[in-house]
Symmetry: C2
Subunit: 346 residues, 2 copies
Amino acid sequence: MAKRKNIDARNSSKVQDKRKHVPTEQELFNGIKSGNKARLGQAITLIESARPTDAQKAHQLVERCLSQKSPSVRIGITGVPGVGKSTFVETLGKQLIAIGKKVAVLAVDPTSSKNRGSILGDKTRMTELSRDPNAFVRPSPSGKSLGGVAQKTRETIILCEAAAYDVVLVETVGVGQSETAVHGMVDFFLLLKLSGAGDELQGIKRGIIEMADAIVINKADGDNIKRAKLAEVDFKRALQLYPPKENGWLPVVRSCSAIENTGIKEVWEVIETYLNDAIDAGYLDQKRRNQNKYWLLQTIEERLKIDFFYHQEIKAQLEIVTEKVMRNETSPFRAAEELLQLWRGH
Amino acid sequence: MAKRKNIDARNSSKVQDKRKHVPTEQELFNGIKSGNKARLGQAITLIESARPTDAQKAHQLVERCLSQKSPSVRIGITGVPGVGKSTFVETLGKQLIAIGKKVAVLAVDPTSSKNRGSILGDKTRMTELSRDPNAFVRPSPSGKSLGGVAQKTRETIILCEAAAYDVVLVETVGVGQSETAVHGMVDFFLLLKLSGAGDELQGIKRGIIEMADAIVINKADGDNIKRAKLAEVDFKRALQLYPPKENGWLPVVRSCSAIENTGIKEVWEVIETYLNDAIDAGYLDQKRRNQNKYWLLQTIEERLKIDFFYHQEIKAQLEIVTEKVMRNETSPFRAAEELLQLWRGH
């Protein structure tokens, strides 16, 4: 036992000394500031770490990066698997780099472990972009709880901004709970769709169309062009029946082919128009402040629920009263009151 | 002082004895069971009472009424002020009574105090219905918090069902937060609209169209018929772009004139079709069970938040950290953690 421990200690110190030097918070911050992609990657890993000992260091780093003002643009991109998100992101990313931007690509996908989508998993599709010195591509964090993943992604955006990335693209699969979270951390929210609506819609989350600042029909190429144009008209008509957004923006519909690189420039123009209007009207700043407040309250609410619902005694009692409520033997309000009395007595 | 007190006591006991006998829980229950509208009204007042001494009695009454199985139908009706909700409810209500139903009409409107809508406020429009022995019309409860109003409405439905009302119509104004609550307590959710969309949509809440099981264009009369028919087509097209409901139901679009009593019968047929399908597939029972569970969890979450956010020390500290978060001096997650540590220390 003692011997084994010594070997471990020797090995681990060797690893620390030679191959895996653990960077200090200062080193990470300096690396981020100087545009060192490897350091940025290590910093994100630190943030994603579940180890309590890493938390303090991660907090410090985030606070330090927050103090770096940066005029970045945050764009959320969603759509069901198969809609061509990766190709769209790669094509858009390369165009942005061509006009002098630095682009970071992040992914929020709490379902990826279930092998539902291939969000950034299929790395081959993003190789060109990720090799570009002006691009940084980071696959989905492996956190389990959505709250956790959202927090990590939100903090990763802050690191990317401190690293002077002008545009942060946040991808999500559009079938789970992550869209509301992403919508709450970006300046512009884009929904990718296909022209042959029907089937594809089965998987999409209700309410997502109303979140979109733009709907872009992808794969408008070859035989598909006509159908895509028809879908465009349909969506334009449909969106007219909806109330405008708080800032007066009417969601825009466009079509494009990410694979043939047509219509992507026009999508970017839409985003720029939106942002320019929002900056001029002071709306963008307001939106970001509100988002910060949203995350503060959201985090508190989430943690309060976790404290309650994961408490052993409450869990057991909840099961019992839920059964009673389901059988109509007690009202849900009465049952809730009982549980809360138990909780407050602790 | 002492003299005054005596007079008050004498007056109040006189009132209690002669004019305002306070019915016991048993009397209320018997009255409800025997179809006594005055007793039902008193029972609802008991439920709406904010007095802690009434709470226990109210709870008992609700539990007792819950044990009365009743095959009622719960329908939510929403739409912005001016869309003709009261006329629609009165016309539909009278038709239902004509085919042998007993109809209760309730309203959820936490904004009514601000004089925004005239939901059931303009009593003259409902006089005919409320005078009918087979109808029971109850205006909006005066509770302040939405959670409270929702709970009271939910419990009022239970009383109406114990009083053997076959159809419970729950009205809401469609501009606030009450729609999600009402959607969570009814079997069928109907959105009333006007043909001249534009202006009217300004006030409506985002997400409400996706909640609707049916959209009914009202005031399809006179010069308006053609426009209403066009709006009907527009909405039908628009809804095709949306995913179907969990039970496979595709929301239906109809037009009607509540004032001329055209198209109302057809709306009821739609509701009946939905309900028959839902009963046959076991979906209705499932939906109600899920709604009960929703209310249990919803109530707990609401109360947990109230405990936290109304706590004096937390309130003061929250203000301070919110300012810091808004000025980007700390991350929202860090700030949340600080507050939660303070809270857990209590």
